[in-house]
């Protein structure tokens, strides 16, 4: 499942991130990695705001697809 399938407030662990370009690298830099817990804060048309390691990150649809829970 992806981040946009979570309900607001729900927390899950990341199973896999596909790293293939600099955008995904940026995800890693922002603290997304295998095994890290993410909580959904808000969802809007496939884009999400999530909480990772105490920071809030906004991601668009494209990036949401690359993170598998």
């Amino acid at each position: 499942m992806t981040l946009s399938d979570l309900s607001v407030g729900e927390t899950r662990k990341i199973k896999h991130i596909s790293v293939k370009d600099s955008a995904s690298r940026y995800l890693l830099n922002l603290g997304f990695a295998q095994g890290v817990s993410v909580t959904l804060v808000a969802e809007c048309c496939g884009s999400v705001i999530v909480r990772v390691n105490n920071s809030r990150i906004a991601l668009d649809k494209e990036l949401v697809k690359r993170i598998l829970l």
Binding site: K20, G31, A33, N54, S55, L59, L63
Partner: protein, 693 residues
């Protein structure tokens, strides 16, 4: 030898607060629009022999964003004696990944854990002693806000620099270390020992920037490629993902023994987020906020600017200076140059300062309270449709005031293609210097309607949207769009002191840029428009006989198809290159007495001239700002050429269609206009050949 300390940390972790506290400066460095993202250095207040350097906030040291490049290049090329790694206690897990990267560079490190009290309030705790043992370097608690622990961190840094202790050696898994050893063996002797591990790691993940550090021969390159291939097959993943996973495992091990985090709960800030980024409320709330900021800046504060332009720089100051120069016995031409050319030109740009100050102030408030990053996120969906990113939003908003800060703020746009596109397109938005031209044309030719003025903004916006769509389908700008990802800082009440400081800093950058450049440009344009050949030698002459008139007259036929091929209008458009508000002034000087623009041009031709001036190459200041951001003469020239051609195209099609429908003129040029229009529609509507499925 002074000791050089560099401050490195994530954006928003309090580095700059610490820098200002320790050096007593009021410098501002940050990832916000309009501020140069560069390193700043200053000696310590307490010890002038210690030089502190503040670097842009980064999440990593990979060379993919301009700020990361600045930080990374500084650490590699300038090699500070020690790095103070500032960490926000709340986001310690993420921050530690940067700590590992710095350590890999082989520089001594001390870690400053900032904002620990805020983290503790939320039920988190950090065991500094344990963390220090696990990392193998000093870890101290500081508060950049009240200054506690800041003197101690400097002492610790100086001790670390003097002992030159090679820092924390974080070991990866056996497979990774073997691959690294093999690469190091090839690199050995070709690079300084301290950078060896850093370079080997970079080669393993095929970091492109590495080739600048080491020039390898073909055999070595092939050898390294083989090592990477073997490594990737053995771990069954690409090297980069694998190393990222390994680093996060190492960090998890470190934090499991030193950090206790409270379970995540949704805070008040999260709940505001749910509303502000909601598809129903988000955009209306934002539109209201932007309208307020814009209305106050352009309309209310704009009046102050008009006063400055018309009274202070237009009347009072030139008078005073002229009197002073007369007393000194200066020649008339020098007086005219200083008063009309320089004070008039520079002053007309400086009179935008009040408007800019107001807009910067609002933007700073939005930014400081955490709203701007949400706006960028909400705008992303809309902007993406015409090839720009949500982060292009601030440049576009600034573009309505002045192209220079607009172009400068495009730095915050991630993705090289998106950034370049933003720089090329923001100057289409009518800046406030173009307002006088808009008002002149609207008042002279369409006095009864407000349509003309609004139409000007429509033309500008349409140019941004259409050019965005068309350019995004070209090879140069097409392909993958950079996906949007941004950290959203927590909502807070903006601290007045930093809002004011940052506003002033933005204004200072703008003024310095304008002051130096436009000075030269104004002088040059004045000389060209007041000197000419008479009796075989160069001398002062009326504008109608000047060099500029000569040039204008020569190229005027080019503009005949657009309806305004008179030398006066062409010269006026040319002086617009120095500063757009010059256009109106130049027309005033060049038109013979008692004739108005309406005797020279038809309404359609006048609007065509307006369209051309709205869209063509921006003023020299904006061009030079764009040149600095684009980084190459070729790109700058391409941008100017594109803007000017777009302007020519829009004016041409507009004027020809007007002639056809108003006067029934149908000739070869009308056919050409239809052909161009068809080509435009094709480029606009064709499917994107570079879109990746």
């Amino acid at each position: 030898m002074p000791i050089r300390i560099a401050l490195v940390g994530n954006p928003n972790c309090g580095k700059t607060t610490l820098f200002n506290l320790l050096t007593g400066s009021a410098e501002y460095v940050g990832n916000r629009p309009g501020v140069t993202v560069e390193e700043k250095s200053a000696p310590l207040k307490s010890d002038k022999n210690i030089i502190l350097t503040d670097l842009p906030g980064v999440y990593s040291l990979s060379p993919y964003t301009p700020d990361e490049l600045v930080t990374r290049d500084f650490l590699v090329e300038n090699r500070p004696d020690v790095v103070i790694n500032v960490i926000d206690a709340l986001t310690i897990t993420r921050s530690l990944s940067l700590t590992l990267r710095i350590a890999e560079m082989g520089v001594p490190v001390v870690v400053a854990v900032n904002m620990l009290d805020a983290a503790e309030k939320r039920g988190n705790s950090v065991d500094l002693t344990a963390l220090s043992e696990l990392l193998g370097c000093r870890v101290l608690r500081i508060s950049a806000a009240d200054g506690s622990g800041c003197a101690e961190i400097v002492t610790a840094a100086v001790t670390a620099a003097k002992s030159d202790n090679s820092p924390i050696l974080i070991r990866f898994s056996e497979k990774t270390e073997t691959a690294l050893d093999k690469i190091s063996l090839i690199l050995f002797g070709q690079i300084s020992d301290k950078l060896l591990r850093f370079c080997a790691l970079n080669f393993l993940v095929q970091d492109k920037k590495n080739s600048a550090l080491v020039r390898l021969n073909a055999a070595d390159k092939a050898e390294i490629e083989k090592i990477i291939l073997t490594f990737e097959t053995s771990v069954n993943s690409d090297a980069e993902s694998f190393l990222a996973a390994e680093r996060s495992k190492i960090i998890a091990k470190i934090t499991s023994r030193s950090v206790k985090s409270a379970p995540p709960t949704l805070t008040a800030s999260d709940k505001i987020d749910a509303v502000l980024t909601n598809p129903l409320f988000g955009l209306p709330v934002f539109a209201a906020a932007a309208f307020l900021a814009f209305f106050v800046s352009v309309t209310l504060v704009g009046n102050v600017g008009d006063f400055l332009r018309n009274s202070v720089f237009g009347d009072f100051l030139p008078q005073c200076v002229e009197n002073a120069l007369s007393l000194l016995g200066c020649a008339d031409w020098l007086k005219a140059l200083v008063c009309d050319g320089i004070i008039g030109g520079v002053g007309s740009v400086l009179s935008f300062l009040p408007q800019l100050a107001a807009l910067f102030f609002f933007l700073e408030i939005f930014e400081e309270c955490g709203y701007m990053s949400r706006v960028a996120f909400a705008a992303d969906r809309v902007f993406r449709k015409f090839g720009l990113s949500g982060k292009s939003f601030v440049p576009v908003l600034l573009g309505a005031v002045c192209g220079v800060p607009a172009v400068m703020s495009a730095r915050t746009v991630r993705g090289v293609k998106d950034r370049r596109l933003t720089i090329m397109l923001v100057t289409f938005v009518p800046c406030s210097a173009k307002l006088p031209v808009i008002v002149l044309v609207a008042d002279t030719f369409f006095p009864d309607t407000r349509f003309a003025a609004s139409a000007a903004y429509l033309v500008g916006s349409a140019a941004v949207v259409c050019s965005g769509i068309i350019l995004k389908k070209t090879k140069h700008f097409g392909g993958v769009t950079t996906p949007f990802a941004a950290e959203l800082p927590p909502f807070r009440i903006p601290p007045p002191k930093s809002v004011i400081l940052h506003t002033l800093d933005n204004l200072k950058n703008f003024t310095v840029k304008v002051g130096t450049l436009i000075f030269t440009a104004c002088t040059l344009i004045w000389l060209l428009s007041n000197l000419g050949f008479s009796c075989g030698k160069i001398s002062l002459c009326p504008p109608s006989e000047s060099f500029l008139a000569l040039i204008g007259g020569t190229i005027a036929p080019l503009f005949a198809p657009l309806g305004f091929g008179k030398w006066q209008t062409v010269v006026a458009s040319m002086t617009g290159i120095a500063a757009k508000e010059n256009i109106v002034g130049t027309l005033g000087v060049l038109l013979p007495d008692n004739t108005s623009l309406s005797e020279l041009l038809t309404p359609a031709a006048a609007f065509s001239m307006l369209i051309f001036n709205l869209l063509c190459a921006p003023c020299v200041c904006a061009i030079s700002a764009a040149h600095k951001e684009l980084g190459s003469l070729k790109s700058t020239l391409a941008a100017i050429a594109f803007q000017t051609l777009a302007a020519y195209f829009a004016s041409f099609v507009f004027y020809r269609l007007c002639l056809l429908f108003l006067n029934g003129v149908f000739d070869l040029l009308t056919l050409a206009a239809f052909a161009l229009l068809a080509a435009f529609l094709f480029l606009l509507l064709r499917p994107d050949p570079y879109r990746k499925k």
